[in-house]
């Protein structure tokens, strides 16, 4: 009787393991398939000319140099706006904010901001930055729009990372006569940095790949040179892909897949560097 039950339990255990393992494997398989397919389709386009030349024949020939540079500019500007505001806001919410209705309202607003579809940010950016603020369609307007979209991710990541830090090391620092500010920037922030960096990179990677927020706020179909000021328009990888496929008859499949590969590779390399740095940090810090 009891032997039958333990055998039954063992069988159930084996099945459960198998099912969960298969699910995990299928996720990895899909990711690998997508990546492999992009590499397979796009790797033929990658050569020196593709990376350094301007698009020719409406994008059917030539390269994507201004497209890459445009995305780098916009993402850099987005990071420059998002990181200080997002990290400081996250610190405020985790370390300073009183536990009251106003703080709860702020948190709720941030959660809601994270759930707003990106096309809505695109329209908001057009109305607020391009038209009302008079910035015009530009790197600056697009970066500000992407900042609105990325901020909730960075704020939430910062707040969560800070919450992971045990309360007792804050106490230890205060008990040594450190001020709250010194406790935060000497003890708490360095310990939380891996989590903050990871969350920020995730948010910025998403910003790099978004089309809708830059569609109305500054991205253009064709430029012969790279943007020469924050107020100039720009080309960008995701919008270039979208424009080729929807607006260019007989678009060059190899070049578009090549553009996709550059976007994915760029985002992956940054994420991987961040992950490697984080694992070095984690190895040092075990709670």
């Amino acid at each position: 009787m009891s032997r039958a039950r333990t055998r039954q339990a063992r069988v159930a255990e084996t099945i459960a393991r198998g099912v969960m393992g298969a699910m995990a494997a299928s996720v990895i398989a899909v990711a690998l398939f997508v990546l492999a397919y992009i590499v397979y389709q796009g790797v033929g386009a990658i050569d020196w000319q593709f990376l350094t030349d301007v698009p020719r024949d409406r994008g059917r020939a030539g390269g994507i140099y201004p497209v890459i540079i445009g995305t780098v500019y916009v993402v850099t500007a987005t990071a420059a706006f998002t990181l200080p505001v997002g990290v400081l806001a996250g610190i405020y919410l985790s370390e300073y904010a009183p536990r009251n209705l106003a703080t709860r309202a702020i948190r709720l607003a941030i959660t809601n901001m994270a759930g707003v579809p990106s096309i809505v940010y695109g329209l908001f950016g057009l109305a607020a930055f391009v038209l009302a603020a008079g910035i015009g369609r530009s790197v600056l307007a697009a970066a500000l729009t992407l900042t609105c979209m990325t901020l909730p991710v960075v704020i939430t990541a910062t707040e969560e990372a800070l919450r992971q830090i045990p309360q007792d090391i804050r106490q230890a620092s205060l008990a040594l006569g450190a001020t709250k500010l010194r406790t935060i920037y000497k003890v708490v922030l360095p310990a939380a940095a891996p989590g903050i960096v990871t969350g920020s990179i995730l948010g910025l990677a998403r910003a790099a790949g978004e089309t809708a927020p830059i569609l109305f706020t500054g991205a253009v179909f064709q430029m012969r040179q790279t943007p020469d000021s924050p107020l100039s328009q720009f080309m960008a990888l995701p919008y270039h892909i979208y424009a080729q496929v929807t607006s260019v008859p007989d678009w060059n499949r190899t070049l578009v897949w090549g553009t996709v590969l550059v976007l994915v590779a760029g985002v992956s390399i940054v994420s991987m560097v961040a992950a490697a740095w984080r694992s070095v940090q984690r190895r040092k810090i075990k709670w």
């Binding site: 090391i169 230890a172 620092s173 205060l174 008990a175 006569g177 003890v187 360095p190």
Partner: protein, 289 residues
């Protein structure tokens, strides 16, 4: 208002540490008498809930005072009044007066940050910072503005010696603090507290998370330290209080409806052999708590 305290120890050059003092009156007090507390009618309330009432006691300089009593009797809360760590909890109100070397430390204009450089604390669980052994110990001095490498090196060595950890870590000061064992981490926390040259070190059950051998080492360290600093220790362990303390204070909350009171305070020997109060005797002989 900056007084200058010079620290000279065998083997280390004299380091002059400018330390802002709460009040210049400290300058008149002899070095050997520094670090004594007087509590008068101290009460503590969490919001509207009075948890400690009417505590009067003296904590003498350069001696070990143990706070004992059952769980929830407010020992740790009272301890945190002495370096104003209760301020950090927001809703705690402390009444009465607490003086350190003659100055009222509860006045609004007393900066808790300055007070805590004079009154260090060691916590129940070892809580080193996620950084190297050296940086842990140097944290307090750096907070006080000491930057010169030679000064920091000397302070780190002196503090680690004070906490009986130097011989074990002298070759690995750059090692991450988390690589130390639990007992070593706690002695590191003691060294970290000593590095600010405090007059008093508060210890909140410093050995309760440690094994017997580490506990023994902590107790030996305390015995060494009491010649140079005042120690106030909260402990659950009555044998420990009897072993290491010079004076013992017994606190008790007799029912949930009323706040905790200080039942009796006196020489440890007397408290454990011939206490004045029946309740002290019952607690010490293990009849409750």
């Amino acid at each position: 208002m900056v007084s200058v305290l010079s620290i000279a120890d065998e083997g280390t050059a004299a380091i002059v540490v400018p330390r802002p003092s709460v009040d210049d009156r400290t300058a008149g007090i002899a070095e050997s008498a520094r670090g004594s507390f007087t509590l008068a009618d101290v009460s503590v309330a969490y919001g509207d809930d009075l948890v400690i009432e009417g505590v009067d006691m003296e904590i003498p300089s350069r001696a070990v005072t143990a706070l004992i009593g059952p769980s929830g009797c407010g020992k740790s809360t009272l301890l945190r009044c002495l370096n104003r760590m209760n301020d950090e909890l927001g809703t705690v109100r402390v009444g009465g007066t607490i003086t350190l070397d003659g100055q009222d430390i509860m006045r609004r204009e007393v900066d808790p940050v300055e007070l805590r450089m004079r009154v260090g604390q060691v916590f129940q669980r070892p809580n080193p910072f996620p950084m190297s052994i050296y940086d842990n110990v140097a944290f307090g001095p750096r907070t006080q503005g000491i930057r010169r490498r030679a000064d920091l090196d000397a302070l780190v060595e002196e503090s680690l010696r004070g906490a009986a950890l130097w011989d074990e870590v002298r070759k690995s000061l750059k090692k991450h603090a988390f690589e130390l064992s639990g007992g070593q981490q706690q002695r590191l926390c003691i060294a970290r507290a000593l590095a600010t040259k405090p007059e008093v070190v508060l210890m909140d059950e410093p050995a309760s998370a440690l094994d017997p051998i580490s506990t023994q080492q902590i107790e030996d360290t305390i015995a060494e330290l009491k010649s140079s600093v005042t120690i106030v220790i909260v402990t659950h362990n009555m044998q420990q209080a009897a072993r290491i303390s010079d004076r013992t204070a017994f606190m008790l909350r007799e029912s949930l409806e009323e706040p905790a009171h200080l039942i009796e305070v006196g020489e440890t020997k007397k408290m454990f052999t011939n206490p004045d109060d029946k309740r002290t005797e019952s607690y010490i002989t293990g009849r409750f708590g």
